[in-house]
Symmetry: C2
Amino acid sequence: MSDRDHSKREGSGRILRAPENFVDLTLQQDIERHGLDAKRRSFLRRSFAGAVATTAAAATAPLAFAQSEGDEMILKPRPWATSLGQPVAARPYGLPSEHEKNLQRRQSPGLTRVAASSVAFTPLQGLFGIITPNGLHFERHHQGWHDIDPAQHRLMLNGLMRAPRVYTMDDLMRLPSVSRMHFIECGANTGMEWGNVAVPTVQYTHGMLSCCEFTGVPLSVLLEDCGADLKRGKYLLAEGGDGSSMTRTIPLEMADEIIVAWAMNGEMLRPENGYPLRLVVPGVQGVSWVKWLRRLEVGDQPWNTKDETVHYVDMMPDGMHRQYTSIQECKSVITTPSGGQTLIGKGFYNISGLAWSGRGKVKRVDVSVDGGRSWRTARLEGPVLSKCLTRFNLDWVWDGSPAILQSRAIDETGYVQPRTNELRAIRGTRSIYHNNAIQSWRVAPSGEVDNVQLG
Amino acid sequence: MSDRDHSKREGSGRILRAPENFVDLTLQQDIERHGLDAKRRSFLRRSFAGAVATTAAAATAPLAFAQSEGDEMILKPRPWATSLGQPVAARPYGLPSEHEKNLQRRQSPGLTRVAASSVAFTPLQGLFGIITPNGLHFERHHQGWHDIDPAQHRLMLNGLMRAPRVYTMDDLMRLPSVSRMHFIECGANTGMEWGNVAVPTVQYTHGMLSCCEFTGVPLSVLLEDCGADLKRGKYLLAEGGDGSSMTRTIPLEMADEIIVAWAMNGEMLRPENGYPLRLVVPGVQGVSWVKWLRRLEVGDQPWNTKDETVHYVDMMPDGMHRQYTSIQECKSVITTPSGGQTLIGKGFYNISGLAWSGRGKVKRVDVSVDGGRSWRTARLEGPVLSKCLTRFNLDWVWDGSPAILQSRAIDETGYVQPRTNELRAIRGTRSIYHNNAIQSWRVAPSGEVDNVQLG
């Protein structure tokens, strides 16, 4: 495969090819060129013959390519084995490989009128495990992002409290801190699919989802410090420091888990994600994790701000709307194979995906390859943490016939992720927010995978 | 504080200032300019009066600065509240704030003759939680790093096995995968301190230490696939793809936990850390986590390669050396406050640090502020995982008198991190590797923190 081919892929090294901006690029050429297909099938047949069914054609395939490659590797070292490499600290702050440069956050063209009030999606199809690297964390802004000078930033606490107070970053960062891993999902994630719009890739269907280790001071420490009146005070108003007047009401019954955070994945927040301060509200939709946080007010009733009356409400079939529906219910999605990728031939695949619940831990994930007629239980990678992504994996041998891949998560409360039609029966098709239905990916005999709405 | 001041700091927003390359820069100017000191002490006295002792002077300090700042914040919005910000995906792969640009991997000048065979240290003094962001993962190369084309990379398995085999990256990445969080520490970490060299900052004392979520195929899957003879085969030889002929013997009794990994913290490995393939050997010194991994051989005895005979052996007092001492024993270090930082005045601080053990989970961390005469048990942040970093935190009120900060970790086997003299009594002072002694940071009445060897 040439360097040029690599540069077109959304992250190289993937066995399943993801197109760049929906322009397909399969590995079929490579397979034909190198004769890899037969070798792979043969290899995988031997590995997993005991556990899974394979095609008869694969059983007799030769290993010629692999063996000649092996001789070459030993006898003819690659260029990087015979030359001096780059020095340490060549990049004081490191970056991904040049071969991975197409694995990017991407904006969905036309989703909003201006890019300062839009979304850049996380490329879930090319990620592994549960941690989202900070450079690929999704973005959702209401009036664009700023790189705020932390020395100029302040956080005010006011409202129902004995001693309203203003904190500098230095004040906050000497306080007792906690570190917790949590997912963050925009309430509008998978929003296009309320109708019958089958967005082509998992980056665009589910990519308003990320997961980090957050560090900051527990909200409870600040409330105590200011002498908050928690008898009268039942709600918190969180206000962002940008120009969008982004304000959200949060029930104080959630206070025990809320963090006023300055760090994500070990380092200070990124500007696009609220540097130097954001709210972390585990299990709750991302809009409440207010970025560039400048004010927290304690009150005795919800504020009914524009962002919780005009926006972020769920339109119901009868024309009424649900309001303050902030918790992200149990949900899962297969990230590999997923829409826009192309399987490189029959044989073994590791089906991999993510599951999460705003109510606690994921208890189980079932996977179907026949559109929900039968299910197998996937392996969960540990640690399984509350209100955090959980990675699941399942062995699968594709026999070349059409398949429909689905995942169904169950959380520790016993809640089961619904089918699309189950959700629509109650909530209709006119909503934007809180679509946690089962996702279906259709595999064609050609190996091409696309998004299909099954109901 | 001006932007210029910010740019000098190793990561802004820290309450404890770390100097750039040992050039000190304290916050005293800011304190004098803004009168923050009294406010902070007052604030912290109220917060933690019940739990900790404070100075009498702090009790009556006013809050004038904070309140006027508060009015200003509401009445005069900051520039970022009155302007349109940057669009989404302005940076398809995001970067840290400009205000954090001094938080970097740094080379220790003069440590090695050429920078292609040297170390770049992780800036532990400016990090949080347990995850090391990929851009700040430490580097240690033997002949420099390359950005290898994954389509050209191969992994050979050979030796005592029925079917020696060569894998492409595509072959490997369709196999069953696991994701695990583990620390990686160079065996030479804290090596200068075997003698009486008090390296000034925690970046240089302990910065050959990082922690990631790694994803890859379990070694056991590959051994099974190749029909490895595990009756005769007792050892694994791992060989890197660079030009240094880096080879390491690894006992196969460790095989169950070893991962042939392609991803760190959710994305493909970074070139400096072995892209596209490295070995993950939990609990074992970093040199065995062979980068740019190209070969794994199964054998019946250790290979005694140059990297396990000439290098990476522990010189003992009697002139003999210990060999194959690969497991990183239980260790901890306080990262804040630490050498080179300056406390900004008396009052409350969150003492924070990291603990780890190559034998399993950290069970407990004790912290002393009086050079080991008395100890308090720190809070451990969850999840506490095996062979993974654990973050600890402890409340502390500094009364302005000299103090010596130490941490002492105990792992689940009951092993207690030793004092320097306990370690030297057995292992002497001529070693480089495997110094896991207790670290001491001395706090002067001026607030300056430095590295001191107590014994």
